[in-house]
Amino acid sequence: MPSGGSLTQDPCMNIRSHIRQETVVLLLAVAIFIASSIFLNGFIEASNIVTLVRGVALLGILAIGMGIVVIGRGIDLSVVSILAISVACMLQLLNMSYSLPSALAITLAGVIVMGGINGFLVAYAEVPAIFATLASGTFVYGIGRSQWLSGDVVYMPDNQTGFMAMGELKFLGIPAEIYFFLGIAFLAFLALRFTRPGRFIYFMGDNFAAARNMGIPVRPVIVLQYIVSALIAFVAGVIMAASLHSMNTRIVNSTLLYDIILVVVIGGIGLSGGKGGIRNVIVGTLLIGILLNAMTILDIPDLYQKLIKASFLLVALIADGFINPRDEQTDQAGDI
């Protein structure tokens, strides 16, 4: 190819560095796991492994939702608010002696509406995703906490034994969360790979103008993305409540949201869209999950944990900028 000489360089490097990023992240995760098992007292113990797996599974489920949105060149900063408020409301309804199915149905409807509003803001009102979801997340938390909930923490009523049992469920000695995580990951993989909307998300993320011009229904797909993201957040919240028997809405003020973005970026899903997949989410989750657990065992003070995570995120974002450069044409003020 004489004329394409200069063009052949970057993309090849790009692909190679992608494979490398995934592999490097996986190796790093394994290395930290081995080092922690050797040097950290109590890391390899069964009780800690259960904690680790639970944490990893929850983070992973949330990262799948975020990953889907990021592949389509968006971002959803409202997931943690939706998770906390939807599940807290559901528990509140149960406390008000609604039956489980009706509470579930009401909350699900609310979650879909929230995701739909996010999608509408981004797709039709054309508000940059980062601002739209930041605002809607804060709004959901604010209205939920001030109007619907009586306190920060909502406890599960004692009569919900089935719900509570779900949190204790184990299969082959492994907590049920991990099966949920793997199941959702597999479903998301199938959806992204083998359904039309899944492929449309990749086309949009790769080249939005091209996707729009050729007649891909970009707006409905964007709305769908945010609805799926909200639903996944809700599922994660239900799993969380099942094991903790309560929902503490203060989680909104935690660094969970940054952990999720960290997983997505470290795993190798470029913020410029169209790249990566569920595989990247899984390796990212493993690394960050193990890291967080090790830091907890080392008893690193919370402030330092935040510092370390923030540094990781910054480095990952900078690396992402180098690996997936955005040219002037795809770059737009305000979007991420």
Binding site: T195, R199, D206, N207, R212, V218
Partner: protein, 499 residues
């Protein structure tokens, strides 16, 4: 008159492709010098080198006899060479006065001071512009006045204009001409790029014509006339066999049913009351220079842009009035647009040829299974790669790794898979190698033979002459002339396209 600036053997290549070859250019003190040429002739490149925006690859520049070499525009500005771009370089949210003094403010900046100074400057130039108005509220002409005032304030001795009148109304143009004459009286040298031959003849002292990056002629405007200029602009050397004007006029395809009828569509001041029709079974060629509104018109038809809500005109597809808010319904109705800029809005660069082609099928929802089938994708890729002769090292090659011609074929293939009734090619052979140009032209002819409505937009005359069964000429946002291939000559078309 003394020579103020002279350029000798200026050459500029972009990635090995020459944009200018050994061009000589002289600018005298106090003269108005027009630069003419087709799109891609190298006019903009030459002026950008003059103003220090881009450095030349080779050649020398002399300013008042001493050799100069600019690495950035501010160095040229220090010597008094200022450039007024087509897209103005003003800060829209600031006032006129703030823009005039941008970069020159005192540390403690008092607006009152610069408003008074700006008022004096604008009055001395006789510009009816309010210094306290924000740029965003001004029209194109007034913005240009602000740019000119800025150049004058910096004591520019050479002012370069890139297509200054392209976006102006006739009234505003008259103001502009008066201004240029006044600058000339003050001893300022003016260089301006234009597509309007009459304007160049009327306004300038000397005219330089470029073609394909080479200098053709420089002469006093008094010694040139419209015909000689147009001849110098289009006279071609290397068209060769590829663009042999098709001798068989009887090969002209007769029109079948009317596919598209456009009545008086308007969008801002880019597309103005544009009307034309497209018939099935023939190629409708639209010739127009950049800025003539041809791409915007095509994008309105394809639903990518929206025409004005009130007085936006009518578009009828096979007799049914349509108004698209987004491209999807247009594609469903069988209108596809093949972009002129395939990298930013044509193909999916991280994906393979097969995935790109398959995107067309997925969009229409005509795939066999409700889910994505890898086997179907491979079969589709094989079928279309051989039909369009897409050559790649392997079928998994990413589209961005292909040559320009193969990329274009992928974009065309992806559009054809959507089974259009009306297909609009915008500059179908831009950045495409010679072999692929012939193949793409054959393909376009075949599509018309098969009964599709085909529109080809091009600013390359031989391409239009070679392909079209009807030739429409676009100028200033509307179709102004129609030719049959029998009567069309390059000169006639160019004559209609410039104004």
């Amino acid at each position: 008159m003394t020579t103020l600036l002279s350029m000798r053997k200026i050459t500029k290549s972009y990635r090995g492709a020459p944009a200018l070859k050994d061009v000589d250019f002289d600018l005298r003190k106090g003269e108005v010098h027009a630069l003419l040429g087709e799109n891609g002739a190298g006019k903009s490149t030459l002026t950008k080198i003059m103003a220090g925006v881009v450095p030349p690859s080779a050649g020398d520049m002399f300013y008042e006899g001493t050799q100069v070499r600019f690495t950035n525009p501010s160095e040229a500005l220090k010597l008094g060479i200022a450039m007024v771009f087509q897209e103005t370089n003003l800060v829209p949210s600031m006032t006129v006065a703030q823009n005039l003094y941008l970069g020159d403010e005192n540390f403690f900046n008092r607006l009152r001071g610069i408003y008074i100074a700006a008022q004096q400057l604008l009055q001395s130039l006789n510009f009816p512009v309010d210094p306290t108005a924000t740029i965003a509220t001004l029209g194109a002409a007034k913005r240009q006045m602000v740019e000119i005032a800025r150049a004058v304030r910096l004591n520019a001795r050479i002012i370069i204009f890139d297509e200054p009148t392209a976006t102006l109304t006739p009234e505003e143009k008259r103001h502009f001409y008066a201004l240029v004459r006044r600058l000339k009286e003050n001893g300022v040298s003016v260089v301006f790029i234009t597509h309007a031959v009459e304007e160049a003849l009327m306004l300038s002292d000397r005219i330089t014509i470029l073609r394909d990056g080479e200098h053709v002629v420089t002469n006093d405007a008094a010694n040139l006339d419209r015909d000689s200029i147009i001849h110098a602009m289009v006279g071609r050397t290397l068209s060769g066999e590829l663009y042999r004007h098709r001798d068989a006029i009887d090969r002209v395809r007769p029109p079948k049913a009317k596919v598209l009828s456009v009545q008086d569509i308007s969008m801002g001041n880019v597309v103005r009351n544009n009307s034309f029709s497209v018939y099935a079974g023939q190629v409708t060629g639209i010739f127009g220079l950049i800025g003539s509104g041809r791409t915007e018109t095509a994008k309105i038809i394809a639903g990518i842009y929206k025409r004005d809500f009130t007085r936006g005109g009518e578009i009828e597809l096979e007799g049914n009035p349509v108004r698209y808010a987004v491209p999807r319904p247009a594609v469903k109705d069988g209108i596809v647009y093949v972009t002129e800029d395939r990298k930013t809005e044509g193909f999916f660069e991280t994906m393979s040829i097969a995935e790109n082609l398959y995107s067309g099928l997925l969009t229409t929802g005509r795939q066999k299974l409700p889910i994505v089938s890898i086997r179907e994708m491979r079969a589709l890729a094989q079928e279309w790669s051989s039909a369009l002769n897409i050559r790649a090292i392997n079928s998994n090659a990413r589209v961005i790794e292909l040559s320009g011609g193969n990329q274009q074929k992928v974009v065309i293939g992806k559009s054809l898979i959507e089974k259009p009734r009306l297909i609009i090619f915008d500059e179908p052979t831009r950045g495409v190698d010679v072999g692929a140009i012939a193949e793409i032209h054959q393909l376009i002819n075949r599509l018309a033979d098969d009964g599709l409505g085909v529109v080809v937009i091009s600013s390359y005359l031989p391409e239009i002459m070679n392909l079209s069964d009807r030739i429409l000429v676009s100028r200033q946002g509307r179709i102004v002339e129609e030719f049959s291939p029998a009567e069309a000559t390059e000169e006639k078309i160019m004559y209609a396209a410039v104004h």
